[in-house]
């Protein structure tokens, strides 16, 4: 008998009689004002949120808030005239010197401040982790109240990797003192895009 067969046999022998799954239909977000809530929660967890009208404003704010003499990469065609368009094919280690990465999220969750990033939106999996500062663009209409709505929209999802990211990397391992920038980004900025035009990265 292989280990696999033995474990499965022991589990089958020892598991209790059937217990049903709960009804989850009552779990829905009641929050209507998701943009406002999102911005407040995200600020509360150490992020910076800006409500913007278009990419011109985003470019301006990036220039104002970051050192543009350093390497800035983006997966957004709207920004590739000013920043380096990130390559899907190069060795991920070559992103080690990236100062700022600008990517677009598929969803954001008002209740916890997190954005949902399937790997197609990241460009490469390492990008939102290895950069010193992470910048994420989220169209306002893609903010949902809670994780329940988020998972309903995500469905099975066509990705090999995806993540919720809610704020700059942090640790409080030394005497519970909060330090932003453990291993991942030292800061995270979200631009909530309130406009009618549909992004062509969909």
């Amino acid at each position: 008998m292989s280990t696999r067969e033995r474990i499965l046999a022991d589990v089958l022998k020892n598991q209790p009689s059937a217990s049903p799954l709960p009804d989850m239909s009552a779990f829905t977000g009641k929050n209507q004002n998701v943009v406002q809530t999102y911005s407040e929660v995200f600020t509360g967890i150490g992020g910076k949120a800006f409500r913007v009208k278009g990419f011109a404003e985003i470019k301006h704010l990036i220039a104002e808030n970051f050192d543009t003499s350093q390497r800035i990469i983006t997966s957004l065609p709207e920004l590739s005239d000013v920043f380096e368009r990130l390559s899907m094919d190069i060795d991920p280690h070559t992103f080690d010197d990236v100062e700022v990465a600008v990517i677009e999220a598929e969803l954001a969750v008002a209740e916890n401040g997190a954005v949902w990033l399937p790997e197609q939106r990241m460009g490469q999996r390492i990008v939102p982790y290895i950069c010193q500062h992470l910048v994420v663009v989220i169209p306002a209409e893609r903010i949902v109240p809670t994780l329940h709505e988020a998972y309903a929209k995500i469905g099975a999802g066509d990705y090999g990797f995806a993540a919720f990211i809610g704020g700059p990397s942090k640790t409080a391992d030394i005497e519970q003192a909060l330090v932003l920038g453990a291993h991942g980004p030292i800061s995270m900025t979200v631009f909530v895009l309130e406009q009618d035009t549909i992004l062509n990265t969909d």
Partner: protein, 461 residues
């Protein structure tokens, strides 16, 4: 089965020698408990979420066999290689063989209590493989050659000055530097170099979705991702109880986990791993390590519902005042004390007694495990199986004899009062375990029985 060198009480005695440290430790953990309360109160349906999480986990345990098969099939379809391990030895051998086949001699590892349980690091180091723990708290514990004292906050028992000294000794920081930001920045630079040079990365698993074959890893530091996405070989180890049926159930568990653990609305990173990236190889190891045995113990199987948030430790008056290392087990605190006797009853016979049975652990548990009731039940099993400490057995026997007849009860009561009133030094000494850290109580002149014999009949009309 080996016997621990020192039991919980003896190890706690070491910890409480430094009163200032104990007060700090107690206060720091209680503050985290308070942050958990504030986060929970912000969610009106919090109790409904706990109930749903508990029911989902009950369902998982009742159908684990089929969910494991479903998960295995989907993981395999996604291009990840599945391995099964019955115990630590088998798990460690699998990790070693994967690395050896690739000729890899250095690995970076993010937080995984399971691999701590398996003593994976020691196993690999003996075979010439260098392993670095990348979670900052675990990294500090590794430098100091100590296991983690808390599953979420591995070095919560250490003061910053001690950590500064460890950094000075092992990493060459300036002596006397203890500022948390300065130390964290230094570790960041040092570990960045580790991440970019390691070809293999190992992670733990928080939730494994049977329906899709993906698994979720939660961190705040981003260390699991830094290792995984730069690696050419990614290994993930999980206990078989980490399965959840459907992806939508993540909505329940991710709402509960970080709020229960630290009071955050969600961990910074909730990474969903499904397929290897181009050019990468991924392995998943399903580990039993006593889980299937625990599943067969009706009184204790609920302990397998645990999602490792650590809230039962933060709230426990015994944990807060005795420190995680005094539990001499990878998982400390109340949950550790009900998991450990399943692994080795003799070695961990002391742990279910390291509790006041106040029930606070059960009240904060996000999956509603009846922790304090299980602690009480383990005590009974341990005494019946003959693993209880001699002093406890003698005490219980003496108490049973005393309570066995009104005559013995009244005689012993009289003798006790006489001793306390006339020769208190006979019990106020180090041979009496009760006297440690406490004074014996003042004794009344007479018992209630004696008082009632004198007054009762006159005063009751």
């Amino acid at each position: 089965m080996e016997k621990a060198e020192k039991d919980h009480a003896a190890l706690a005695e070491e910890f409480i020698k430094d009163e200032e440290r104990v007060d700090w430790h107690d206060g720091a953990l209680w503050w985290i408990r308070q942050k958990r309360d504030m986060a929970a109160k912000n969610i009106p349906e919090w109790e409904a979420l706990r109930e749903a999480a508990s029911q989902i986990k009950n369902n998982v345990l009742s159908n684990l066999h089929d969910y494991l098969l479903e998960f295995e099939a989907n993981v395999t379809k996604n291009g990840i290689k599945v391995h099964w391990a019955a115990d630590a030895e088998e798990h460690n051998a699998i990790v070693y063989s994967i690395l050896k086949e690739k000729g890899i001699e250095q690995m970076v590892k993010s937080k995984s209590m399971l691999t701590e349980e398996c003593h994976l690091n020691e196993y690999l180091i003996e075979r010439g493989i260098d392993v670095i723990n990348s979670d900052l708290g675990e990294y500090i514990q590794q430098l100091d050659n100590e296991p983690p004292s808390h599953i979420v906050l591995p070095c919560i028992h250490k003061r910053k000055e001690e950590i500064g000294e460890i950094f000075h000794e092992h990493l060459g920081t300036e002596k006397g530097v203890s500022d948390p930001t300065t130390l964290t920045r230094f570790a960041r630079r040092h570990l960045r170099n580790v991440f970019v040079t390691r070809r293999a990365a190992l992670t733990g698993v928080n939730f494994a979705v049977a329906e899709t074959g993906e698994y979720v890893v939660c961190t705040n530091e981003g260390n699991a991702d830094m290792g995984a996405h730069l690696s050419e070989v990614q290994i993930s180890s999980m206990g078989i109880e980490k399965i959840i049926p459907q992806k939508k159930h993540l909505g329940i568990f991710l709402r509960l986990l970080a709020r229960s653990a630290t009071g955050q609305p969600i961990t910074i990173y909730s990474s969903h791993f499904k397929k290897p990236r181009k050019g990468q190889e991924m392995h998943l190891i399903l580990v039993d390590m006593g889980r299937s045995r625990q599943l067969g113990r009706p009184d204790f199987r609920d302990s397998l519902k645990c999602i490792r948030c650590g809230s039962c430790m933060n709230t426990c008056p015994v944990y807060r005042k005795s420190g995680g290392l005094s539990y001499h087990n990878t998982v400390a605190g109340p949950i550790g004390a009900i998991l450990a006797p399943n692994l080795d009853m003799r070695k961990h016979a002391d742990l279910p007694f390291a509790s006041t049975l106040c029930g606070s652990c059960s009240n904060v548990c996000p999956v509603k495990i009846n922790i304090h009731e299980q602690l009480y039940k383990w005590r009974q099993v341990i005494v019946q199986e003959g693993y209880a400490a001699n002093t406890k057995v003698l005490g219980i026997k003496a108490m049973a004899w005393t309570l066995s007849s009104p005559t013995s009860y009244s005689t012993i009561g009289k003798a006790g009062r006489w001793v306390l009133n006339n020769i208190p030094f006979a019990v106020n000494n180090k041979f009496n375990p009760w006297y440690k850290q406490r004074d014996m109580p003042d004794s009344p002149k007479e018992s209630f029985g004696e008082w009632y014999a004198k007054h009762g009949k006159d005063e009751v009309k």
